[in-house]
Subunit: 231 residues, 2 copies
Amino acid sequence: MARANRVGNPREDYGARMTQLVRVHNFGVSSDGYAAGDGQSLERPFGHADPMALMSWAGATASWPNRTDPGGSRGLEDYLVRDFHRNVGAEVMGRNKFGPQRGPWTDHDWQGWWGDEPPFHTPVLVMTHHPRPSFTLGDTTFHFVGGEPAEVLERALEAAGGRDVRLGGGAESIRQFLDAGLVDTLHVAVAPVELGAGSRWWSSPDDLLDRYHRDVVPGSGGVVHHLFWRD
Amino acid sequence: MARANRVGNPREDYGARMTQLVRVHNFGVSSDGYAAGDGQSLERPFGHADPMALMSWAGATASWPNRTDPGGSRGLEDYLVRDFHRNVGAEVMGRNKFGPQRGPWTDHDWQGWWGDEPPFHTPVLVMTHHPRPSFTLGDTTFHFVGGEPAEVLERALEAAGGRDVRLGGGAESIRQFLDAGLVDTLHVAVAPVELGAGSRWWSSPDDLLDRYHRDVVPGSGGVVHHLFWRD
């Protein structure tokens, strides 16, 4: 999905010359291949999984946005955390990342898990077959869009204004784009925890090697980072 | 040298909240610890060293700015290359990085190695005891400054407008800032080539462990990346 970048900015161009990429970043999965547990609810966005067990490597970095004390590492994993927002112009997420509701939208007071200042700072396209008006919180605007992955991506690329599109998850949503051949790069962090059940991401980190190059990089606390890209 | 960042930008803040850092990036050295060879000249900026042998890992990435064909890896080393410009507001370099001349500036036609569009896009402070007027090429302005490292850094931090300062080398220049305790993070890429002599950077990659944390990350073609940070 690499395409000509019509937005000129010498500093941004250093990292994204001529292409508009579709990227997956900081996507945490268990050692047995689940990105979330069973039983999502308002109280447990990740079901029976502990999101901190999946993402503790990120929380230990200096650039982790929820950090309240000054410390934190500025080694390899800080590069991975920093890159999350670099040159991203829009995010696409599945509706289960946006909230635990299913079916038609009956409660418009629910505006996601993130409070008054969501951490996206771009348009966010929430994939759902049920219509709902767009709304804005802080500098993030949420749109609710139906259609096939290729149609959703077309809208996201336009909303991104020449910058990249991040696929924010969950697993099922990203898999739809993968199966349609629409993903350029992925960063998947495999944590040393087993979930046994939940939202299936892959059967093995080798699943994508028929389509992608890969770097495997050891991280902190037993995490292993898998970086995928294609020609 | 971490200090309060007075420039507010939600997107930038993700990676640089509250601090203005002094950083070394993509600094290539030989396996025996030299950052350049002997005998610098107009024709050979790195003396008897081949800069491509030191930096081939960077040239193989998709984000390498001198790349003319579309390919290139988007794995680990692409993160390192992309990060070179992120949130940098000024560069400090030694005069030997700027040119092969020594002593007073007699030829003002010499404006560095980089042609009409230098790749810095920020103020650049060239350390020299010999005065010379500032000049601008493209969106890079070169200033020529004397004084101790702490004084030079004070000017660079001001010129950076709240963003970070990159120390661009060469080895002798960065060592002055290291010895004065002024460097926050370093990325040093150790290439599998021996130079035998030249501009000495360190006797061993372990030299800095009394003052810095370190991640050691294997790269492509036998390169080893050392990422240093301090509390």
